[in-house]
Amino acid sequence: MRDTIFELSRALRTKKISSVELCELYLKAIERENPKLNAYVHVFYDSARRDAERADRLIKEGKGGLLTGIPVAVKDNICTEGELTTCCSAILKGYKPPYSATVWERLRAQGAVMLGKTNMDEFAMGSSSESSVYGAPKNPIDATRVTGGSSGGSAAAVCARLAPYALGSDTGGSVRQPAAFCGTVGFKPTYGEVSRYGLIAYASSLDQIGPLTSSVKDAAAVFSAIRGKDERDMTSFDGEKERELDPDVKGLKIGIAEQFFEGLEGGVKACVESAAKRYESAGAELIKVSLPSLGYTLPVYYIIACAEASSNLGRYDGIRYGFRAENYSSVEDMIIKTRTLGFGKEVQRRIMLGTYVLSSGYFDAYYKKACALRERIKSEFSQIFQKCDVLLTPSSPITAFPAGLERLNPAEAYLADIYTVSANAAGLPAISVPCGSDGGLPVGLQIMGERFSDYKVLSAAYFAQVDGICPDYGVKGGVEL
C-alpha cells in the first residue's frame, strides 16, 4: 500500500517533477487507459493544465501544501463551476453549474488539480455504476466484473492509477463498497463533517462526501483538507480536532457484531477473520457485541433514501437547466416527456417508490416507521460504542460481481450494501480498507466508529496499512513514478 499523495507531494517539493508534468502524465494515462475502463466521463484538459500551472506558481512561491499540484478525480455529482457536472444522467446533459461545491473550493484553494469527472450510477442510485448513462466503468482488477458503486469511476481511477486520489459520495456505501470491490481505501466521514454544499442531492440525510485513495494515510490527509463547518451547509459541523494517525492498537477495544458474520461464507469471511486476528495479536481486544436491527437497515435505507430522492429530484423538469424533451403540447406534457426520457429506469423506480411512501395514507406505515427504526439503529450503535472503540465488519458480503447482474436482479444486488448502509442511517464514520483476496478479487474490511470519532477510525485502519494486512493488487497501466 503506497501513500501516493505523500510520495507525489515530496517529488513536487524536491522539484523532481513539476505539477504541469505530473498533470500531463495523468492526462496521457487517461487517454490511453480510459477507453478500456470508462472510469472518467469528462476529462478537463484545459482547466487541469491551468490548475497545474497555478500550482507550480504556488510551489515556486513557497505557498504549497501537501495537496498542491496533485491531481484529483471528482465524482460526477459534485458541482464545479463552469465544468460539466451531470450525475451520469441524461437529464443533466450539458449541465455546467454556476458555482462550485465547498469541497472543490477547499481543494482548489490548496492548489489541487482536477483531471475530470468520474463515472457513477445515475444520481448515485446503484451498487455497480451500471446505471450510468455513459455505460458502466470496468473493474481494473477484472474487466468482466463491476467496479461496485455508485462511486465506481472514482474507485476504478484510483485503482488503475489514473488519479492519485478521488472524491466520491456515500449514501448507503457508495464510497466504501466500490473501494472494497476495486481494492482501494474508501472513507465515509461522520455525517456533517464534510460540507454537502454543491453535492447533487440523492438522499440528503444520508449523503456524505468522502475520499477514495491508495492508502489510509492519504485518506486522512484528504479528509483533513475538506472537512469542517461550512456556513453554506447548516448540517455541517466542526468535529473532533485533527490529529496524527497512530497505528498502535494496543488496548483498542474492537467490537465484533455477530449479525455481520451470519451467513457469511468463503473467502470474505476468512479474510476479515484473519484481519481481526492480526489486530488481536497486536494487542487489541476483540469484544462480542450485537446489532439486532442490522436486518432492518436495508429497508430503512431504501424507504428514507427513496422518499428524500423523490423530493430532491423533482426539480429536474427541463425548465431551468439540463435536458428538455422536444415536441410537447403543454408545460405539463413537456415536464412529463423530459422526465420520462431524461431519467433511467432505476432512478424512475426510486422516485416512484419514494413518492409512494410519502403519500397520504402510506406515510405512517412506511416513512414514519422507517424513521422510528432509524432511531432504534442509532441507539443500538450508541450501546455498542459504550463497550468498544470501533466496530470491525466486512465491507460487503460479496466481492465484485459479474457485470449485468444488477440489471437482472436488482433485489440481489441491493444486498451488496447490507454492511455499509447502517453507518449512513446512524451518521457514523466508516472506512473500507483492502484485507485480502477471494478468487483474485479484493475483499474489504470495514471499520466504524461513533459520531465524530473519524480520526480514531482512521487510526484503527492505519494499523492495517502499517501491519501489511492490505495487499497490493498489482494493477498496471496507470501512472508510475
Binding site: 457536472t85 450525475c87 453549474p97 453535492l199 423533482g314 426539480r315 425548465i319 431551468r320 397520504s360
Partner: protein
C-alpha cells in the same frame, strides 16, 4: 331558515427582511427579472438553504404581537408540488412544528379572534405572460413569508374585513411587513361556511384565494355567503372547493374541487436542523415590542383626549404616530397636533402610500414649534394652518414663513380699543344679546376678526366685549 356566517382566514405576509429566507439575495420588490437570485433560490442542483435568522426573529415578533405561544422547538418540512414558479418542486415550510401557535387578535369591539398558528416559509417566483409566451421571474422566489391562520371565529364579512385591516396594521407597526396587498406582500385566502342559526355544527367550507384588498375580500365574502345560503335553501349541498373571485363581476367561481386536491407529501426538511429558541431571546423580543395599534388608539382617546375619529385616523399610519408623538415630546399640545396632522398634513399627502411613508420636508421639532406658537396664542389657528401648508410645500421652519406682523399678535390695549368700536358700531346686535339672543354676539366677533386681520385671540376678545357690555 336563517344562516350564520362562519369564516377563518389564512394570511400570507411577506417579511420585511433585507435578504431572502434561505440565501443572501435581496428581497426588494420588482427589479429586472432574474437579477435577484442565486444557485440557492433558483434550485440549482446541490445548493443548500441557510436559514435567515432575521426571518425567524420577524416571525416570532409577529407571533408575540398576536399574543401567540412561541414554540421553543420548531422545525421545517418540505411541501412537495410541481409548478414552474417553484424551482425545487418543493416549498420549504413548517408543518408539524410551526414557530407560533394559539394566539389572538382583538377587534375594536373587544372580541378576540383566535390565531391557530403562524409558520415561516418561502415565496415562489412569478409567471409573466408576455408576447404570447410565459416567462418565469425568480426574483420573488425565496422571499420569506409567514402564514397566519385564524380560527373560524369571524362571524360577519364586516368582522373579517376588520380582522384583515387590523392584521395589516399590526404587521406594519411591528415592522414585520409593509403589507402592501397590491404588490402582493399580503395575500388572504378566506374560508367561508354557512350554518343554520343556533347550530353548533360547521357547514362545508369553500376557500376564496388571493384576496388583494380588505374591501374586495368583504365583497367576495358577502357574495359567497349568499351563494351558499341559496344552495342550502334549495336543499342542495355546498361542495368543498377552492374559489376564485372576479373583481369585475363581483362573483366567485369554482377553481377546483376537493377531488383534485394535491397531496403535498410533507416530510421533515433534511437540510435544516430543528430551530431551537432560547427563552431569553423570546423574552427580549417581547420586551422590545412596540405599542400596538388598538392600544395606541385607546390611549389617544383616553389619555390624550383625541376624538375617536381623529385617533382612528392617525393610528392607521405608524409613521404619522411616531411623528405625532415626537412633537408631543417637544411640548406641543396633543389635540392641536393631531388635528393639524389628520387635517392639513393628510390632505397634502393625499395618497395612502404617501400617508404610510409620511416623508415630510420638515422635522417633528419644526412642526412642534409651529404648534406651540398656536398653543401660546402667538398665532391663531388660521395662520397656523396656512403656515403649515407653506412648510409642506417648501420645507423648513415655521419662522421662515411668519412675518413680524403675523407673529406680533394684538396686544390687550389695542384689542380693547377694537372691541369698544365693535360694541359702538353694532348697537342692534348688542341689544339683541341683552334681550337674550346669545348668538347675536358673534357679529361682534366677526368685526374684531376683520379689524385685526384674524390675528386677535377671540377668546380674550369675548371676555373684553362681555365686560364692555356689562359696563353699560
Amino acid at each position: 331558515m336563517k344562516y350564520s356566517f362562519v369564516c377563518g382566514i389564512e394570511t400570507h405576509v411577506e417579511l420585511a427582511t433585507a435578504t431572502k429566507v434561505f440565501c443572501g439575495c435581496s428581497t426588494a420588490f420588482g427589479g429586472k427579472p432574474n437579477t435577484r437570485c442565486c444557485p440557492v433560490c433558483t434550485g440549482q442542483p446541490g445548493a443548500l438553504p441557510v436559514l435567515n435568522k432575521r426571518a425567524v426573529e420577524f416571525a416570532v415578533r409577529a407571533g408575540l404581537a398576536l399574543n401567540c405561544k412561541i414554540n421553543y422547538l420548531s422545525a421545517f418540512d418540505r411541501k412537495n408540488y410541481s409548478y414552474p414558479d417553484l424551482p425545487k418542486a418543493y416549498q420549504i415550510s413548517q408543518y408539524a412544528l410551526p414557530l407560533c401557535r394559539d394566539g389572538w387578535l382583538e377587534l375594536e369591539s373587544g372580541k378576540r379572534i383566535g390565531i391557530e398558528r403562524i409558520h415561516l416559509e418561502e415565496d415562489a417566483g412569478k409567471l409573466v405572460h408576455e408576447r404570447g409566451s410565459t416567462f418565469i421571474d425568480y426574483n420573488r422566489g425565496g422571499v420569506p413569508l409567514i402564514e397566519i391562520v385564524s380560527k373560524p371565529d369571524l362571524a360577519s364579512p364586516d368582522e373579517a374585513r376588520e380582522y384583515i385591516e387590523k392584521l395589516q396594521l399590526i404587521m406594519r407597526y411591528t415592522g414585520v411587513s409593509d403589507c402592501k396587498m397590491q404588490e402582493g406582500s399580503m395575500r388572504c385566502d378566506v374560508n367561508i361556511s354557512a350554518r343554520p342559526e343556533g347550530s353548533e355544527l360547521l357547514g362545508t367550507r369553500t376557500e376564496i384565494k388571493n384576496m388583494n384588498s380588505p374591501a374586495f375580500a368583504e365583497r367576495a365574502m358577502n357574495f359567497e355567503f349568499g351563494r351558499q345560503c341559496e344552495l342550502l335553501e334549495r336543499g342542495e349541498r355546498v361542495e368543498q372547493a377552492t374559489m376564485r373571485y372576479d373583481e369585475n363581476t363581483g362573483e366567485t367561481t369554482v377553481m377546483r374541487t376537493k377531488e383534485d386536491a394535491d397531496d403535498y407529501r410533507y416530510f421533515p426538511e433534511p437540510d435544516i436542523p430543528p430551530v431551537v429558541l432560547e427563552r431569553e431571546y423570546v423574552e427580549g423580543l417581547k420586551e422590545g415590542l412596540c405599542e400596538l395599534p388598538l392600544a395606541k388608539m385607546r390611549r389617544y382617546i383616553q389619555v390624550l383626549a383625541l376624538s375617536e375619529q381623529t385617533a382612528r385616523l392617525i393610528t392607521k399610519y405608524p409613521k404619522a404616530c411616531e411623528f405625532f408623538e415626537s412633537a408631543l415630546k417637544c411640548g406641543a399640545g396633543a389635540k392641536r397636533c393631531a388635528n393639524l396632522i389628520t387635517g392639513t398634513v393628510f390632505a397634502f399627502l393625499e395618497s395612502e402610500e404617501n400617508k404610510e411613508k409620511f416623508s415630510l420636508k420638515f422635522s417633528a421639532d419644526e412642526f412642534a414649534e409651529l404648534a406651540m406658537l398656536a398653543d401660546g396664542g402667538k398665532i391663531n389657528d388660521t395662520v397656523a394652518r396656512a403656515t403649515l401648508q407653506k412648510m409642506l410645500s417648501g420645507g423648513g421652519s415655521a419662522k421662515t414663513y411668519l412675518s413680524g406682523e403675523d407673529m406680533r399678535g394684538v396686544d390687550e390695549g389695542e384689542l380693547e380699543e377694537v372691541c369698544r368700536r365693535a360694541v359702538g358700531q353694532n348697537p342692534q346686535a348688542v341689544a339683541d344679546y341683552l334681550a337674550g339672543k346669545q348668538k347675536a354676539i358673534s357679529a361682534l366677533f366677526g368685526y374684531v376678526k376683520r379689524a385685526t386681520a384674524g390675528k386677535a385671540d377671540i377668546r380674550l376678545a369675548e371676555q373684553i366685549i362681555l365686560k364692555i357690555i356689562g359696563e353699560k
